[in-house]
């Protein structure tokens, strides 16, 4: 991804996470209604506490992305968080927006993975390719 487009996406996603966190803090009970009954039943803590935790997580993800501090980790956690949100609230009016946020988080994570990690994947891939080439073709 080009550097400029990456940063625009990063800041945009950061603002989204931060603002959602602030809105959950404002009215946690309004967000509780989105949770499917089966998911609410699985919670080991009161739903209000879970919502406060969600707000803190959203703000932390947003702050990490905004300050460009470990953006790959923030985007990874954000993507996992959105997958969980998509699972526990089911298909609603806002599902398509969550899919867009998920896609953005995955794009940022893929583009900002640490070089050591991507190098490891590349070298592993090269080794696999080498192995395949060395194997004689079966007739």
């Amino acid at each position: 991804m080009k550097k400029t487009s990456f940063h625009i996406l990063r800041v945009g996603l950061a603002i989204t996470f931060l603002w959602i966190g602030v809105l959950i803090f404002k009215q946690p009970e309004a967000w509780e209604g989105y949770l499917q009954p089966w998911a609410a039943g699985l919670l080991p803590i009161p739903i209000a506490q879970a919502m406060t935790g969600t707000a803190i997580l959203d703000i932390a993800i947003g702050a990490f992305l905004l300050f460009d501090f470990l953006p790959w980790l923030a985007a990874l956690v954000g993507a996992i968080h959105i997958v969980i949100v998509l699972t526990v609230i089911g298909i609603t009016d806002i599902t398509v927006r969550n899919i867009a946020i998920l896609a953005a988080a995955i794009a940022i994570m893929a583009d900002s993975l640490p070089k050591a990690f991507t190098d490891k994947i590349m070298s592993w891939q090269k080794t696999e390719d080498q192995k395949n080439q060395d194997q004689p073709l079966e007739v």
């Binding site: 940063h7 990063r10 950061a14 931060l18 905004l66």
Partner: protein, 136 residues
């Protein structure tokens, strides 16, 4: 609520641009200068600090403060009157400071810095939003 959302968004944009400038300064790297080409001239000038504090740090602190105040006002953390007044005073002071710094770029340094102008426009837009929301 809408005006606070806009102020929060603008302050987040301001945070991202000042963080970029702070990082570049600490790493002693030249920032990308998409328009104007005078970023290095302006950022290395004697006017890049106020009372020994770099302007980018002052800007960052202002934007972080605005974002916190906007969040407190949305969530309803008191005292609301204090936050409301602090927000107006802070944005007014930042707007005046931005006018002064833009004047310095125009008349004294005679070079334009993209990031400084972007920050100035961000602050002025915040001022316009506060004025417009007060008028409605």
């Amino acid at each position: 609520m809408t005006s606070l959302a806009l102020l929060f968004t603008l302050s987040a944009i301001g945070i991202s641009e000042t963080v970029y400038l702070v990082r570049k300064r600490i790493a002693s790297e030249k920032p990308i200068c998409p328009i104007g080409g005078g970023c290095v001239t302006v950022l290395a000038s004697k006017y890049s600090k106020m009372l020994l504090i770099p302007n980018d740090v002052l800007g960052l602190l202002s934007y972080v403060t605005v974002s916190f105040i906007a969040a407190f006002l949305v969530i309803g953390v008191g005292p609301m009157f204090v936050w409301n007044s602090a927000l107006k005073i802070l944005v007014a002071a930042a707007s005046l400071m931005s006018i002064f710094l833009t004047y310095l770029q125009w008349r004294v340094i005679r070079a334009w810095c993209f990031w400084c102008l972007m920050s100035a426009f961000t602050v002025w837009l915040m001022g316009i939003i506060i004025l417009a929301s007060a008028a409605v």
